[in-house]
C-alpha cells in the first residue's frame, strides 16, 4: 500500500477504479441473490399484508387496508377483554408469548453452556477431540436429533428414568405436556447450538491477552476473580455478537417445533413462524400470513437496530 501511495495520482485513481470495480463484481452475485430472494420477497410481503389473497388468480387480490392486522390482533375482542385475553386466547398473542419465552430462556442458557464448555476445553488435554464431540450436534441432521430426543423424552424414556433415579418423578412424556413441551424444545435447541457458540468463544478466548492474566495472577486474584474481572470483560464483544445472533435465530424457531410437537399440545408451543406457515400454506391466507410476518420483521429489525447502536458504543468505549 505504501508503494502505491507514491505512484502518480492519475494511475492511482485508475487502479482505485479498477479495484472498486473488482470489489463490486465480487459483491454483485451476493447482492443479486439477496435482492431476488430476500429484498423483493420482503417488499412483496409488506404489500401483501394489506391485501386479501388466496394464492390463486392475482386479479382477485383485494386491497383491505389494515383489516389483516385487525384480524390477527383480534382487535374487537381484545379491546373488550383486555391484554390478558390477547396473550391467552388469540393465536398471535399465544405465538408471541411462546416465542418470547423461548428466546428469553434459550439465549442465556446457551451462552452459559457454550462459555462453560469453552473455558473447560480451552486448556485441557485431548481438547481437539472434545471440541469435535461438542460441535457434532450442530452438524448432525436436525430431524434425526429431534426424533432421538423425542424418544428420550417419552413417558418411560431415559430422561424420566434418570429423574426417577435422582429421586424426582415426572411421569409424563415431555412433548405432550403443556408446560414441559416448550422446555423440551429449549433443551434440544440449547444442546444443539452450544457447540457452535462454544467454537466462537474458544476463538475469542485465544484473543484474551496473556499479560492481563499474568498480571492478575501476580496480584493474587483467584481463578474465579480472574474469570469475572479479566476474561468476561474481554469477551464482552463476543457475548454481545453471540446473543444478538441467537436472539434473531430464536425468533425464527420452526424446525424443532415442527418435528417434535407440531405446536402442541393445544397451542402451548405455537411459535410465530409455525403460525405463519399454518396461515399461509394450510389455510392459504397470504395476506394474514404476511401481516404476521411483518410483526416478526419489526421485532427482528428492532433487535438489529439496537445491535448497530450498541456496536458504536462499544467502539467508543
Amino acid at each position: 500500500m505504501r508503494a502505491d501511495n507514491k505512484r502518480p495520482r492519475h494511475r492511482m485513481s485508475r487502479l482505485e477504479r479498477k479495484n472498486t470495480l473488482v470489489a463490486y463484481s465480487f459483491l454483485a452475485p451476493n447482492f443479486l441473490g439477496f435482492a431476488i430472494f430476500t429484498l423483493v420477497p420482503v417488499l412483496c410481503a409488506i404489500a401483501l399484508s394489506f391485501f386479501e389473497w388466496n394464492g390463486g388468480d392475482i386479479s382477485k387480490m383485494r386491497f383491505v387496508g389494515l383489516e389483516n392486522y385487525a384480524t390477527i390482533f383480534n382487535v374487537k375482542k381484545v379491546s373488550q377483554n383486555g391484554l390478558a385475553y390477547f396473550f391467552n386466547r388469540v393465536d398471535l398473542g399465544i405465538a408471541l408469548k411462546n416465542t418470547i419465552f423461548y428466546t428469553v430462556v434459550t439465549v442465556p442458557l446457551t451462552i452459559v453452556c457454550a462459555l462453560a464448555l469453552a473455558m473447560l476445553l480451552n486448556r485441557i488435554r485431548g481438547a481437539v477431540m472434545f471440541r469435535a464431540v461438542f460441535f457434532f450436534p450442530y452438524v448432525a441432521s436436525m430431524v434425526a436429533i429431534c426424533v432421538c430426543w423425542s424418544f428420550m423424552l417419552m413417558k418411560n424414556g431415559p430422561i424420566n428414568q434418570m429423574i426417577l433415579a435422582l429421586g424426582g418423578s415426572f411421569n409424563k412424556a415431555w412433548t405432550t405436556d403443556s408446560t414441559m413441551a416448550i422446555w423440551s424444545i429449549i433443551l434440544v435447541s440449547v444442546w444443539r447450538n452450544m457447540g457452535y457458540y462454544m467454537v466462537i468463544y474458544l476463538a475469542a478466548l485465544q484473543g484474551v491477552p496473556r499479560e492481563l492474566m499474568e498480571a492478575a495472577t501476580v496480584d493474587g486474584a483467584s481463578k474465579w476473580k480472574q474469570f469475572v474481572h479479566v476474561t468476561l470483560p474481554q469477551l464482552r464483544p463476543t457475548t454481545f455478537f453471540v446473543s444478538i445472533m441467537m436472539i434473531i435465530s430464536c425468533f425464527k424457531i420452526y424446525d424443532v417445533v415442527a418435528i417434535m410437537t407440531e405446536g402442541g399440545p393445544g397451542r402451548s408451543t405455537k411459535m410465530l413462524v409455525t403460525y405463519i406457515y399454518d396461515e399461509a400454506f394450510v389455510k392459504v391466507r397470504y395476506g394474514q400470513a404476511s401481516a404476521i410476518s411483518m410483526i416478526l420483521l419489526i421485532l427482528v429489525l428492532t433487535i438489529t437496530v439496537i445491535q448497530f447502536r450498541s456496536e458504536k458504543k462499544f467502539a467508543n468505549d
Binding site: N54, K172, S178, G263, G264, V282
Partner: protein
Amino acid sequence: MKKVFALVLAAVMLLSTASFSLAEENKVLTVVTWDATTTPYLTAQKEAYEASHPGVTIEYVDVASQDYGIKTTTMLEGNDTSDVFMIKEIDDIIKWQAQGFAEPLNAYVEKSGYDLSGFVGTEQNYAVDGELYAVPFRSDFWVLFYNKDLFDAAGEAYPTNDMTWDAYADLAVRMTKDGVFGTHYHTWLSAVANWTVADGVNTLADRNYDDLLYFYQLYQKLEDAGACMSYADLKASGQHYSGAFAKGNIAMMPMGYWYVSTLIGYNKDGTCNFNWGIAAVPHKDDVAAGSSFGNLTGAMINAKSANKDLAWDYISWLGGEEGAAATASVGARPAYVSETVADAMSSVAGFPTDETSKGALIPSFVGMEWPVAEKVADIKTIVNEEHTLIMAREITPEEGIAEMNERVAELFE
C-alpha cells in the same frame, strides 16, 4: 474410468432421444398423486387404463402423503401444468376451486353423457354452487380390523357387524392380557372422536361438540385400563398404526378401509402372517348398526392443463365402472357402487373369506369425516388443538369440549 463415463454419457443421450421420439408418438398424461410407488391401486389403475387406451401413458408425479395438500397447493400456485391432480381431502378441492385451479366439469359431463348415479350422491361433496369440480374414485369408510389369531388364542368370539361401543370396550378389556392390547387408537381425531358423525345428524362443523364427550370418555376408560397404548407415547414415538397392528399384539383397531390393501400386501410380502378380518365399526345404542364415517378420494383437471379432453377421459374412466374394477382389484374401495364392484372387492386374493368381513363391505350409512362448510379449515385447527390437549390429559374432555364450543363460536362472531 473415462471410457466407462463416456459410455454412460452416450447411453444417457441415446435414451433421452429415444424417450423424446416416444413422447412424440405417445400422449402422456401427468397425474399428481401421493405414495405412487407403494399404493397398489395406483399401479392397477395405470395398467388398466393404458391397456384399454393404447398410445396413452399415465405418468405419476409422486408427492409425499403427509405434505400432499400443502405441496400440491404450492405447485398449483406456481402455475404447474400437470394434467390431473388427485384430491386427498375434500377441503383441498374447495380451496383449489376458490383459487381458480380446478376445471369446471358440468360441460364435460353433459357432452359425454356421463352417468353420475353410481356415486350415490357422494360426488356432491366436490360440487360448488351446482358445478362439479372433481370426480370421486375412492370412498373409504372406517371399519374395525381385528386379529383372528389373538381372538382364537383367547377363546373369545370375533367382533360382529352389530356391536355397541360399550360391548366393544368390554371386549377390548377382556382381550388385554399377556402383552396383548385389546384395541389401538391412532393419534388422529378421526380415530377417536369422529364416530359422532355416524348418526347422520352431527357433523364436526356443527359448532357444538358436546356429542364428542361420549367417545373421549370411552377412550380414557380404555387407556386407564391399559387396553390401548397411551396417546402420549404414540405421539412421542411417532409410531404409525400400520406397523403397530402388523406387530401382532393388537386385537382390534378401528381404521380406514384403505388399510385392507396394506394388510393384504403385508401378508404377501411376509411383514405379518396372522389371520385378520374386518367388521363394521361399533355403534351407539341409538344409531343403526353398520354406520360409519369416511372420506372421498377423487381427481380434478388442472385448469392450466393442455390436455383437458384426455384428462376428462381419464378421470371419468377412473371414477366409472372400469376404473372402479381396477381400484377394487387390489382391495381398495371405489366410490362407484355396483354389484360387479362389490364382487370384485370381496374376491381379491388375500381378502378375508368370512361372512362378517364381506358384510362389513356394505355400510348402512357413511357420514363425511369433515363436511364442506364455512371456515372449516379454522374449525379443523381448533378442534385438533383441543383434541391433542384432551388426549394428552392436559385438560379433561369436558374442559376441552367447552373450549371447542367457545373457540368455534368466536370464529363466527
